[in-house]
Amino acid sequence: MGIGTPRKSSLLFVARFLAALLVFYVVAALGPVNDHVVVPFTELVVSATAFLLRSLHQPIDVVGTVIRSPRFALDVRNGCNGVEAVMVLAAAMLAFPATLRSRLAGLLAGSAAIQILNLVRVVSLVWLGEHHREFFDFVHVGIWQSIVILAAVSMFVFWSWKFAEKTLATRS
């Protein structure tokens, strides 16, 4: 990526990024991967959300990927489990020139941060659905989805400036 014009480098990055995103999506969409990895992970997100809400004295029931409160139920699906943001982050880190170690460290730290943020998102959406249903759709689509992806992009940009380039330069 460091070779050639900036425009060519940008195009190469974008091509790699979109290709990686496509591969990640295909892998995640495969039946066995979805059933044995994605769905159990989503159930884990739901359980963690329920634990947090119960600790805030909210009466919560959990059935699979569905969180139920007395007046509201939320089915956490793909797109709400934080996996898509991790995919965006991983694709960007894979497309950017860096060492494997730097990529792994960035991905681990970034994924953990994204999942923490996503927990806040799901908890806040359940609370919003329970107490202010009229704002739920707007906040769900208009605000939280953008915030989680923006967080992933911000982490990538920070990583690329502070770690990836430094690591490569040191190695060179």
Partner: protein, 181 residues
């Protein structure tokens, strides 16, 4: 918040534009052209004139805001630049936003094609082969789950001012030994 306001304010007129452009694209491979995409608020109702009239409950309704909300992400990414109002950043955003319209049209077309390829039993099977059914079946889901974000990020990366666009230190690091010799 500005991005949110612009997106919310322009949703209905943009849905009309999107419906019109998408209808034109879908009709490109139809002889005679039979698809109609009618905007209703932020919904796009899809119908075919060669099919018997159906109640609206069984017609495809594409929610435009589910497709277009990545405009907020794109605006925020450009707004986060240290020189957000510089000419290069503003023109870059304009170029990326224009390119995003094509992405949105492609997304609507993929929803319509998936509807045609998967929802009409024998008719779908006779008009869409194995590969086409799987391609059109997967395309809208890819867009909904990761593409909606991925395309916005890709366009931001491509159109943001070039001084920020590529890693610099690896280039210098590799060139230094050569320039020293």
């Amino acid at each position: 918040m500005i991005g949110l306001a612009v997106w919310g304010g322009l949703s209905v007129p943009y849905t009309r534009l999107l419906a019109s452009l998408s209808e034109t694209v879908v009709r490109l491979d139809e002889r005679p052209p039979v698809t109609t995409i009618i905007p209703q608020g932020t919904l796009m109702m899809v119908d075919r004139s060669d099919f018997p009239p159906s109640p609206s409950s069984v017609r495809l309704a594409v929610q435009s805001t589910d497709i277009t909300f990545n405009l907020i992400l794109l605006m925020t990414l450009f707004a986060a630049s240290s020189r957000a109002l510089s000419d290069r950043n503003v023109f870059g955003f304009a170029g990326a936003a224009a390119a995003l319209v094509f992405v949105h049209v492609a997304a609507v077309v993929s929803f319509v094609k998936a509807y045609y390829a998967l929802s009409f039993g024998p008719w779908s099977a006779s008009h869409y082969g194995f590969v086409a059914r799987h391609f059109w079946g997967a395309a809208p889901y890819f867009y909904s789950v990761v593409g909606v974000y991925g395309f916005a990020v890709a366009l931001w990366w491509l159109f943001r001012p070039s001084s920020q666009s590529t890693p610099k230190q690896p280039v210098h690091a590799r060139r230094t030994p050569q320039s020293a010799t």
